[in-house]
Each structure stands twice: as C-alpha cells, then as structure tokens.
Amino acid sequence: MRSGSGHVCTPSEARHEYLRQGVSKTARGRPVFEAAGVGKTYANGTVALTDVELGIREGEFVSLVGPSGCGKSTLLRMIAGLGQGTAGAMRWWEQDFGAVGQPGRRLAFVFQEAALMPWATVERNVELPLRLAGQRKTAEQVEEVLEMVGLQDFRKAYPRELSGGMQMRVSIARALITKPNLLLMDEPFGALDEMTRAKLNQDLLELWERHRWTVVFVTHSVYESVFLSTRVVVMAARPGRVLEDIPIDAPSPRGQTFRTSSEYHGWCDRVSESLARAASA
C-alpha cells in the first residue's frame, strides 16, 4: 500500500506531455492526478482496466460514470493507492505515490458505506485521521467540519443512533478534517433514498463551491454527475476503459434553478447517450 515507485510501470514522458495539454480543457489548474495508458489485469486474466488516459486538475469536480464492471471504482481505488496497476503510469501532483500525504498533497476517501467505527462517537470517528497522524488536540477541527456537514449537535452520538444520510455526513466530515487536496468519493450516496441524496448533493456542491477542493466522484447516476461535476468521464466495460470525457460548462453556483433548466437536461441527455454507447460498446 505504501510503495511509491511500484505504481510507475512504464514511465512515458511523452504521454504525460499529451495529458497536460490535451485532456482537460475546462480547468487550468496544476495537474493533481494523471494516468497514462494505465491498465489492470488480475492474476486470473480478467482485464479490469485498459489503456486509461485521465488527467485531473486542481479545482475540478470530475465524475466517473459507467455500467457495472467498467472499473470506475477500481480506478478510484488506484488513485487512492489501494491496489496497483499492471500497465501504464500514474502521477500524483507530478510525482509518484510516495509523495502523497505531504502537506498540499493530501488524499481523502469516502466509501459507499459510511464505514464508521461503531464503538466510537461521532467526534471520535471524525478525529480519527488526525489522531492517526499523532495530533492530540482536535476539538476545534472536529467542531469546524461537523459544522460544515451540519452535525454540530451530534458530537457525542454513536453511529447507530444516526440515519444513513447522517452517517454519510460523518464519513464526509472525517474525510474533510485533514483538509484534503484531492477528495475521492466512491458512490457515496448510492445507498441513500432519493430525498436524502438530493439534499446531500446540494450540500456537497455548496461546500465544493466554497472550498474548491479537487474531487473525483464515482456514481451510477447521470443526474448526480451532471449536477455536481465540472467534467463527466464516461467509462465502458469489458474491458474497463475511458470512452468519453464531457465537460459540463455550467455556471456556478448551481442550485435548484439549474436542476430544472433546459441546459441541465441537455447535458443529462448527452451523458445518457454516451452511457448507452458505453453499454453497447
């Protein structure tokens, strides 16, 4: 998990150059993550990912969408350093994985399930990343992130006392407490009901508009991806690969009016068409 150089299989500087100039047209920030020709083949011969070209720049909100088995979660986990590729090269802030975790290069991950420690209070769960880093005094930071996700009154509650949506908020607060430079979210709202999901989408978007973290967001939902993202990356399955890269050049801040606008629906149609192609490809 901690090996850095192992992620770079066949360094290809030319490809990196292409990535820097070509892939991201909407954002002008410095590169946060780049994948060049990345592939992953399991020992049993299953090809999870092949020839993935992906560049994420600072301040972008990129959604990965695609049919089941397209490797979007696998790719996200590889970005998080969980599992390595078998081909191609990956770079984080233009360096290998060893540099991740230093100030200005922090990652945080939000899983599909809240993955909270059931024996610990909300406060204890949220402060975990700081504790693990050896920090003792955390009260202020806990207060700050809990306020961000609207759970300031639940510091002493146990996870079982919270609804699914609130547990997910705790999980997000735990990710935010390290002030991550790259936030990775793996279908974080997939298990929630539609109402809760819409509310969390709205809140997440507002937070993002205020703080402009770089986010990579895996989802099944076309609507969610268009509503949140500055870019939607459509992936296809068997073998998992990037099919299309669709910039969502919508104004910010977005709100309920955006959800009902015709341009929003235009983008949704566009992503849906691409997904349909991904399903048949």
Binding site: F111, P118, W119, L132, Y158
Partner: protein
C-alpha cells in the same frame, strides 16, 4: 408505561417464565417421589435435597468456596494467557498458522486423560487443579479473540492504511475494538468451562482434607450413599455455573452497551 399489565413486561417475563417452569418441574418431581414412594437413595425429592443442603451447609459452603477459588483463578489465568496468545497470533499469519494447531490440541485432548499427569507433576494440588481448569478454559478465549482480531471491516481497514496507521495504532484503535464482541462471547463459554475443569480435575485427584471442593463432596456422598447430599452439592455447582454465566453476560452487555447489536435493545 406503568399501566401496562405485568405479563407484557419483558423484564418480568424473562425472570418469571423460567422460574415458573422450574417450580412446576420441582413440584412434579416431588409429587412423583412422594406418591411412588421412591427411596431417597435412588432419587430424593427436592424437599429432601433442600433439607440436606441446610443440614450440611457448613461443609458444602466451604467446599463451594474452594471450587470457586480454583475456578476464578483458572478463569483469570486463561483470560490473561488466552488474550495474550490471540494478540500474538494477530501479529503475523505465520505465528498463527504455526501455533494455532497446538491450541486446538489443548482443546481436543480430554482433560480426564491429562489430569493424572498434571497432578503428578505439580506438588501443590491447588496449582494442579488450576492448571487443569486452565487447559480446558483457555481455548474459547484464544479462538474467539483471534477470530475477532481478524474480523475487521474491510473499508475501515483500507481507511487505516490510507491514513498510514502504524501496526500498533491499527491494533489499538481498530482490531481490538472489533474483537471485543467475540472476546466476550469467548468469556461466556470459558467461564463455564473453568468451573467444569475445576470439578473434573478434583474428581481425578479425589483427595479430601482441608482444601476439598464440591467434587470431593459429591464423591464422598456417593460412596456413603447420601444421595440427597450429592444432589445438594450438584445443585450448588449448577447455581455457581449459572451465576458465572450471568456475570459474563452482564459484563459483556455493560462493555458493549453503546454500540454492539448483542447488547442493544430492539426498538422496532
């Protein structure tokens, strides 16, 4: 709440229902013994047993204390050594693979077969009894705690890796808390086994005198055909076992009360 009839109160039922069954059983038992004129040396009735208990209270009470002393000592040693072994196994798959079969060996070898050896090896009988009881009480603690330490939520495990938790941090903040419900499950089984181990070892040792426990009282009463006394001693053992189990359940509920399903009240 208070207006609800007693019969719907779960706490009341939890105590009253088994108690009622027990009393009914005792009544039928007494009835059969009295009506069929079964002699006390074959099957004494509950009343005769109770009388025997009162008459021999001093001897039996002292014997109970002795047996409990061995039980608690053995349980404590099993707890410490068992937990230590499980923590050791948790450190590496290699250690676990190479040592776990020997823990299983402790479990499957009949204590009655080893007890004579143990009693020969240890000069002090008390120590020998404790060793025997430890041998059979330790396995559930080792195996349950090991299972628990390895039953960590996959995503939480990934999370700890991502935040570069040290081995020690992971053990302390993730693996040990995850193992607690399993550990307490082990304690429940092990506490009963410690009592059984203490009694079996004493049966094998068969010595009386100052430090004699309940097993010796049972043996002695058996030789003398004092069947009511035998039953009285047996009853004390059973009660001690139940009390021990109850204590473990209470301990487990107290420790897990905030989070684990086993200790939570269902609210639906």
């Amino acid at each position: 709440m208070s207006a609800r009839p007693l019969i719907e109160n779960e706490r009341f039922l939890r105590i009253a229902a088994p108690l009622g069954v027990g009393l009914l059983f005792l009544a039928i038992w007494q009835l059969i013994v009295t009506e069929a004129h079964i002699p006390a040396y074959l099957l004494p009735g509950p009343l005769a047993i109770f009388e025997a208990l009162l008459a021999n209270w001093q001897t039996l009470g002292l014997a109970l204390l002795m047996t409990l002393k061995v039980t608690f000592l053995a349980f404590f040693v099993a707890l410490v050594l068992g937990t230590a072994a499980a923590l050791l196994f948790a450190q590496s798959k290699w250690l676990e693979m190479s040592l776990f079969p020997y823990a299983v060996m402790l479990q499957v070898t009949p204590i009655v077969a080893i007890a004579p050896l143990v009693i020969i090896w240890f000069k002090d009988l008390q120590v020998a009894l404790v060793v025997c009881a430890v041998i059979i009480a330790i396995f559930p603690i080792i195996s349950n705690t090991t299972l628990g330490l390895n039953s960590v939520n996959h995503n939480l495990n990934n999370l700890f890796d991502m935040y570069r938790a040290s081995r020690w941090q992971k053990l302390l903040h993730l693996r040990i808390p995850s193992a607690l419900p399993y550990f307490f499950g082990g304690l429940r089984i092990s506490s009963g086994l410690a009592l059984i181990g203490a009694v079996v070892a004493e049966f094998v040792a068969g010595t009386g005198g100052q430090g004699a426990g309940l097993a010796y009282q049972i043996l002695q009463a058996g030789y003398n055909l004092q069947i009511p006394e035998m039953f009285a001693a047996l009853m004390l053992l059973t009660l001690a076992g139940i009390a021990l189990f109850g204590l473990m359940v209470a301990l487990s509920n107290w420790a897990l009360k905030n989070w684990h399903e086993s200790a939570l009240k269902q609210e639906n």
